[in-house]
Amino acid sequence: MKRTLSLLLALLAGPSLPATAGEIWITNEKDDDISVIDTATLEVVRTIATGERPRGITFNSDHSRIYICASDSDAVEVMDPATGEILHELPSGEDPEQFVLAPDDRHLWIANEDDAVTTVVDVDTREVVAQINVGIEPEGMAVSSDGKIVVTTSETTNMAHWIDTATMKIVANTLVDSRPRHAKFTKDGAELWVSSEIGGTVTVFDVATRSEKGKIRFAITGVNADLIQPVGFDFTPDGRTAFIALGPANHVAVVDMKTFEVEDYILVGRRVWHMAFSPDHQQLFTTNGVSGDVTVIDVATREPMKSIKVGRFPWGAAARP
């Protein structure tokens, strides 16, 4: 409580700069590069060339390496974030779109959108460990914090495929609403959240029983219901609040993770897609594909603070201290 109060006071003092510096790395799908935003100055400080159509982006746990899905180059690129140099490529299967790095930093789980396959790559040996047949257009990838379960969602098959990471086999397939986009386990591993773009919902699964525990629906005055399309989302580290990007509705929903009630809608740029918290979790950065910018949201006040121009079709976002 005390901490919250001091945080509030700090925010009331004005548009102050966050205490800790950091960076947000944004992939620009139609510019074949990355924009690096300084979280203190909220300016683009570096632009780094990548392979063709960069989308998924993630750091390893000590932030010494960054992995980039270069979809149209059919490769995952491994970059040294200090120099921006591409060190090598990983075999990724065709058209890698999204991936997750297992908590052991060893296995990269990649959704191959054009190939209906999930590819598992060992980032040390740089070899493909397994390829698992999943539904058509796999996209969302999630790994549980204990690293035991990976989930792939497939957009056209409308399913979450649950994969046992020990056997690398599918153990269950659960239907979700139309065009699932993003999946994520809660930090305690008890829930799996899946967004459905065309269905317009987020489904919350109880991981133990793999049964549906809740469904979140959205409504914004003045926006056609079918244009409210949940895509990327993320959770605050206290496990209380979810921020959910609503695509062409140009809003981010704020959801209470206990009651599944929508508490707020924040206006951001056009076709909001993915997002990343600043390393201190005080700011949230959303990629707005159509407007080609990034909205910075103040997490405490839930107000948009600034729009930052980046490249064309910003897609993924990842934070580095």
Binding site: G135, N158, L175, S178, R179, N224
Partner: protein
């Protein structure tokens, strides 16, 4: 029963074998479907540049089958598609009876009179027929049938989509050239109605009368032909056989864009679509068919995907239950157009946004922002509930 052979079947079977042990046992459901085509002899046209593909429509259904089989393989649902093509002058009714004896799901690629003849067969009373070819209004209006759904857009939807764009751009002064065939006049009528609906003027019209080889003479003839038209923003062309319109653009007296059957036009689907994940669908289609996806392919794709989506959600292949689900608010089909697709409850037309395109790019996706509707803004395109005389859906 003969099945069509596709490369996807083998991999789908393998997939079934892989996951069957892991998936909880479900009742096996088999869904048999028929694609029935009446071959129509296309009229001769001036240019050979864009031949009509032999597998137009069929290729869309085949891709949808592969897409749907993958989902089915995880759920214990099997899908089978038989393709029957009846030559011009052949016995379509006999083929339809034969198909309906073994499957209640029919994708019908035929002119409107044949669609009505098949729908009215006693054998078709409980069937689920998809019109994937005819945009004629009467099938959604006075001649609608309870057992026929339409995935191909009504012609008026295409015309309305175009007029929304012209009005939004304030290109509201138009003139029109109408081709000599009955289909051209029918589309001209549709364009006139759409123009009136959205406040676009058609200042003058001329009927196309040339019988020369325009490939050589267009540069001399078309300027003269268009010289006496009043000044305008856009030249509309009604040429549904794709015969002469390609020789009009850039040969006109005044430098004006063309629209309607050529140039800027409303379509069910177009190769220039790449947003909303459409590039995935285009890639899958082109890999299989070795050509670009057209509106009729998309109509067949959405029809078969409709069945797949409904079977997946209700876990049944009973045609009455499928129809009830498809026409309900719970039905949501992802059609790669950025919005959830469903069916109009008053006449069975697939409710969908329509791309307004030129040869190189998507110009707008209709309905455009600002065209309001009390229920759903997509219903600003084509025959709305209050205008439709269709009673077969209980309206």
């Amino acid at each position: 029963m003969p099945k069509i052979r596709i490369s996807g079947t083998v991999s789908a079977c393998l997939l079934t074998a892989l996951v069957v042990a892991a998936t909880p046992a479900r009742a096996e459901i088999a869904v048999a479907m028929t694609y029935l085509r009446e071959e129509v002899k296309a009229p001769p046209v001036l240019s050979n540049l864009d031949p009509i593909p032999d597998d137009l429509g069929v290729a869309g259904a085949r891709l949808a089958l592969a897409d749907t089989e993958t989902t089915g393989s995880f759920l214990g649902h099997r899908y089978m598609l038989k393709v029957i093509s009846v030559e011009p002058g052949g016995d379509l009714i006999a083929a339809a009876k034969d198909a309906l004896a073994s499957t209640p799901v029919l994708f019908l690629d035929a002119p409107s009179e044949s669609i009505l003849a098949v729908a009215d067969l006693p054998e078709a009373s409980g069937a689920l027929i998809f019109n994937i070819a005819s945009g004629e209004r009467r099938l959604r209006d006075t001649d609608c049938r309870a057992n026929v759904l339409h995935t191909i857009p009504e012609d008026a939807m295409r015309a309305d989509a175009l007029m929304q764009v012209l009005k939004a751009k304030r290109w509201t002064r138009t003139v029109m050239i109408v081709g000599p065939r009955p289909r051209d006049e029918a589309f001209a009528t549709t364009l006139r109605a759409a123009a009136a609906k959205f406040g676009v003027e058609i200042l003058a019209e001329k009927t196309w009368t040339f019988d020369t080889d325009l490939r050589r003479a267009a540069g001399k003839e078309v300027p003269l032909f268009t010289q006496d038209l009043p000044d305008h923003d856009v030249l509309l062309i009604a040429d549904e056989a794709d015969d002469f319109s390609r020789f009009v653009a850039d040969n006109t007296w005044l430098p004006r864009p063309v629209a309607g059957s050529d140039g800027l036009r409303g379509e069910g689907w177009a190769p220039v679509l790449e947003q909303w994940g459409a590039v995935q669908l285009q890639n899958r289609f082109e890999t299989r068919a070795q050509r670009e996806m057209q509106s009729r392919d998309y109509a067949a794709w959405t029809a078969l995907r409709t069945i797949g989506e409904a079977v997946t959600r209700i876990n049944s292949a009973d045609p009455a239950k499928l129809r009830a689900h498809i026409l309900s608010d719970a039905f949501a089909l992802d059609g790669f157009k950025g919005r959830s697709l469903g069916y109009r409850g008053w006449n069975g037309q697939l409710r969908q946004p329509l791309p307004v395109v030129n040869a190189r790019a998507l110009v707008e996706l209709a309905p455009l922002e600002g065209y309001l509707h009390p229920e759903n803004d997509m219903d600003t395109l084509g025959l709305d509930r209050a205008e439709s005389a269709c009673k077969a859906f209980g309206g």
